[in-house]
């Protein structure tokens, strides 16, 4: 027990917590924005996969890292746009369409990867984002080393939490987005095009999901592996519910989740002889289910989530 406590105080642990949390922060924010506008985006797992692949390919073929991030965001938006056409404009089942997007995006990723890198036993590597020490802030003991000696994408994630909060709660457009997910009829009464707002939100959200995936290949690792997203997208859907659709809580939820994940990985190394490692690996998924159980009863889903909107409809 003492050992665990001491481990909690090391900067190394917290640095890995932040590394694990970063893709979750991006993707959870992305899903949150979609759901706030009334659209469940189950394309998340596939969009993260294609983000991871697209960013990696971009850099592998000689592109700039930041150019890659922009490229990844555009790819994510394209899939978000496709999802919007299906569920926002045509009003199709958000569940089935989302699963369809996941199947499509992940199969395109694997297709493109196998096509471009046909015969490789060891996946080729790229030079990923390197850690960047924020002056002053990084000299705070433990916290500084953990939070402010990370890759640039992680700082982008911090900034996006604040931006998402500010846009959703302090700007008129944020109110409009939230209204599209709560009471779209009220939006329409103001002369706002609900379909356009929802489409915009889904595209922006999907861009974030794609960047979340790209963090894995462009920062956390330096290569693309098959099945590398490994359910992270689905975990983010649980995190959005756990965070009751709030950006700040989503950030904390992702950190908390990543803490368990980091401890789990360390416990795997220590306890491997006694307990099979698979038991530890199951923990993140169990944890997500438990998290949902804790909040499900009082979860305040956006009222118009899953409800297609047709112009001129009355409730």
């Amino acid at each position: 027990m003492m050992e665990l406590f001491e481990m909690m105080l090391t900067a190394g642990l917290w640095a890995s917590v932040i590394r694990i949390a970063t893709p979750l922060i991006f993707a959870t924010l992305g899903e949150l924005i979609c759901e706030r506008a009334g659209v469940l985006n189950l394309g998340i797992e596939g969009i993260m996969t294609i983000g991871a692949m697209a960013g990696w390919i971009w850099v592998y073929q000689g592109g700039e890292l930041w150019g890659g991030v922009v490229f990844v965001a555009i790819v994510g938006m394209l899939f978000g746009f496709l999802h919007s056409i299906l569920v926002v404009y045509l009003g199709l089942s958000q569940h089935v369409s989302g699963i369809g997007i996941t199947l499509l995006a992940s199969s395109i990723s694997y297709y493109a990867y196998t096509m471009l890198i046909p015969f490789s036993t060891t996946p080729p590597k790229i030079v990923p984002f390197s850690a960047f020490e924020v002056p002053v802030l990084s000299s705070i003991p433990i916290i500084g080393e953990a939070f402010f000696n990370q890759s640039a994408l992680t700082y982008l994630a911090y900034i996006l939490v604040i931006v998402t909060f500010y846009v959703l709660y302090k700007m008129p457009i944020g109110l409009t987005i939230r209204m599209a997910g709560e009471n779209p009829v009220a939006n329409e009464a103001q002369g706002i095009n609900v379909l356009l707002i929802r489409t915009g939100a889904v595209m922006a959200g999907s861009a974030l999901m794609a960047i979340g995936g790209a963090f894995l290949t462009m920062s956390a690792f330096d290569a693309f592996y098959f099945g590398m997203i490994n359910g992270r997208g689905w975990i983010c859907i649980a995190l959005v519910i756990f965070a009751s659709w709030r950006p700040g809580k989503a950030f904390l939820g992702a950190i908390l989740f990543a803490l368990f994940e980091a401890l789990q990985i360390r416990a795997q190394l220590i306890g491997a002889d006694v307990i099979p490692y698979q038991i530890f690996s199951m923990m993140p998924y169990f944890l997500s289910i438990v998290a949902m159980m804790l909040v499900a009863r009082r979860a305040a889903y956006p009222k118009a989530l899953l409800v297609p909107f047709r112009q001129g409809d009355r409730i």
Binding site: L42, L82, L86, L90, G91, L92, S93, H95, V96, S97, I99, G100, I101, L103, L104, S106, S107, I108, Y110, Y111, T114, M115, P118, N230, G231, W234, I235, I237, A238, I241, P276, Q278, I279, S281, M282, Y285, F286, S288, I289, M292, M293, A296, R297, A299
Partner: protein, 350 residues
């Protein structure tokens, strides 16, 4: 010219939809083939030859269709009631584990008893694991989409643990696989020198049984009613929780049977490569079939031939076999759009 909604699309249109959707998928898929620098026509000819060009190819396609019929039915029955069971992949492995538990030598009975017992065990395995999301949904209002999805990963890790630990077959030269199903439990092949086994007969029977249950029984009526309109169903005294439970038992059971059919029919033993995503493809199968149990047979065979054909194609033409997944995903999305458009009718004039 304008569009008018209609309540029921004509039968011919419904029957045409899946074919049109697959057509659309092949047209869009052609661009991916051109991207890979090959001619779509050569590629598609190779695909069709590989899936339907010989008796062996046809038996391969039917063998691949067998688990897809089960998982397609699992998705169809659940989606009918708007219960989003996306965990067929995990339930399939639970069925396979149950079959391994019962069928590797604990009991040895003559085949006519042993084989049904394996299927019952597998169905129970699939049901039991799906009970977790169901109870969480009905008692704690936890969304079933996420729980069924997450359990897939848990189950796969559990299988991995068994195969690297207590269930590892010492005769398998270090490969992580379980002991073989005993001879009396193995499903006989129905075409000589092929991998097409008795499982497909059971799959066809289950399709008819599910169709009959949905069409003629009170359970089936309730399941369909809950899917159409939950409020109205409650008003008429149908218990939503009970219907969801029924649906889940059918759905999980069918997915579990897919696992039995693969373990006892195709592979002979449990491995981690038992299912290349049959659970997820089952969703596409069900949607292409417009959630109709008999339609599931046709769409499962259709999609299975795409997979088998793409495997063959990737050996002759230089195209990754992931093209099959792309084609299936596009057909899934286009059948959704098609089903929507079929609800409208073009009226000429005012």
């Amino acid at each position: 010219m304008r569009l008018k909604t209609r309540r029921d699309a004509p039968v011919w249109l419904i029957a045409l939809l899946p074919i049109l959707s697959i057509g659309v998928a092949f047209i869009i898929g052609a661009f991916f083939i051109i991207w890979a620098g090959e001619s779509p026509i050569t590629a598609y000819i190779a695909l069709i030859k590989g899936s339907l060009g010989s008796t062996f190819a046809i038996t391969e396609s039917l063998a691949r269709a067998t688990p897809l019929i089960f998982t397609g039915l699992a998705a169809a029955v659940a989606f009918r009631a708007k219960f989003w069971n996306i965990g067929a992949e995990g339930q399939l492995y639970c069925g396979a584990m149950a079959a391994t538990l019962v069928g590797t030598g604990v009991i040895d009975l003559p085949a006519p008893i042993m084989i049904p017992m394996l299927f019952i065990a597998g169905a129970l395995g699939g049901c039991l694991i799906l009970l977790v999301p169901v109870v969480l949904k009905t008692h704690m209002k936890v969304d079933e989409v996420v729980t069924t999805l997450l359990l897939n990963f848990v189950i796969l890790l559990f299988v991995n643990m068994l195969l690297e630990g207590p269930w590892k077959d010492p005769m398998a030269m270090g490969w992580p696989q379980a002991a073989r199903i005993i001879d009396n439990g193995v499903l006989p092949t129905i075409v000589a020198k092929s991998r097409l086994h008795f499982g497909i007969i059971i799959a066809l029977v289950m399709s008819v049984v599910m169709w009959a249950i949905l069409r003629f029984t009170v359970w089936g009526y309730e399941i369909r009613a809950v899917g159409y309109n939950q409020q109205a169903s409650t008003f008429f005294g149908i218990s939503i929780n009970k219907s969801v439970l029924m649906v889940a038992l059918f759905s999980g059971g069918l997915a579990g049977m897919a696992g039995v059919s693969e373990v006892a029919g195709l592979k002979g033993y449990l491995t981690l490569t038992l299912s290349p995503g049959f659970g997820y493809t089952g969703i596409a199968v069900a949607m292409l079939a417009q959630l109709h149990p008999i339609g599931v047979i046709v769409s499962a065979i259709f999609l299975a031939s795409i997979y088998v054909g793409a495997d063959a194609m990737s050996r002759t033409v230089n195209i990754p076999n992931y093209i099959a997944d792309i084609l299936v995903a596009i057909s899934l999305l286009s059948v959704l759009v098609g089903a929507m458009l079929a609800r409208f009718r073009i009226v000429w004039g005012k």
